[in-house]
Symmetry: C2
Subunit: 145 residues, 2 copies
DNA sequence: TCTAAAACATGATATAAATCATATTAAAAG
DNA sequence: CTTTTAATATGATTTATATCATGTTTTAGA
């Protein structure tokens, strides 16, 4: 469904959200090591997100990636749309050229409601909310700022 | 989610189910043209399915692909498992190394029930049932034998 | 028994996704 | 103003997926 790049991106952004602030940035290498993601690959991905203003970065010593308040209000859907391309969600699960309520494929009735709920979730929740949720789910202490 | 090969395979098998019998076989080229699938690619895929005894074939003039009664009792899950590899369903939607009810990713609560329902559906319904369903959904006349 | 139709087998090519490598630029700190 | 750190930019390489091409084998029918 999602490409590896998108998955890496989402996991990295959630990690950055929970572990940085404008005062305490983090390098892409450190993120890569912690999350077991190929470092040069993640570096490139984070740069794309920076360009799209979904995350922020600062060069030089004590530089790194971090999120501004504005960044935190973006959604996971924005990340997917930046890295992959959200049109992928529109395709039929079985690859049928035509697949809709009138002429559905044999799993349309299962796939469609899932897709609607998923996209709703990815679009309406902010990165900040998601990061908090993640921290709660995994019994982590989100950074206090 | 599914590879193109799997999608092609499923669509082709459903088509074969609805348009052939042991007496009236169909060539892979004809299937490919009708379904707009690259012909040599589909040919290879159908051969794999034949080897796995999910569909049947006969060489020579008036030869082609068809389904036996036994073939018809296979499932779409069998097709996916033959072409791709069903382990793919076990992976976390966001690619997290650990993702389960105790330590879920942020979309686990949406993805898990979908996956369970989907697999149940793909596993328990026979190719014959699915083909009939497809024909009904699309107002086609399934072949009478 | 010869011919033609179609699956079968194998491998080559193309495309895209993922990974790795190198050099440049910017910022902080001494 | 020099050094160091870390992002940025670019492109090379690898791997996997998808597509194409060629020749061989089997079978039916004339």
């Amino acid at each position: 469904m999602l490409s590896k790049s998108s998955k890496y991106a989402i996991r990295a952004v959630l990690y950055i959200a929970n572990n940085t602030s404008e005062k305490k940035k983090i390098g892409s290498k450190e993120v890569a090591e912690t999350l077991e993601i190929p470092a040069p690959f993640l570096a490139k991905t984070l740069q794309e997100l920076t360009k799209a203003e979904i995350i922020s970065s600062m060069k030089g010593p004590n530089g790194g990636f971090y999120l501004t308040d504005k960044n935190e209000q973006k959604s996971l859907f924005d990340i997917i749309d930046c890295i992959d391309n959200a049109h992928k969600f529109e395709e039929c699960f079985l690859g049928q050229l035509e697949c809709n309520d009138d002429k559905p494929c044999v799993v349309h009735h299962i796939y469609k409601p899932f897709k609607i709920e998923l996209i709703e979730n990815l679009k309406t929740k902010s990165i900040l909310e998601m990061a908090k949720e993640y921290a709660k789910n995994n019994n982590l202490n989100a950074i206090i700022r």
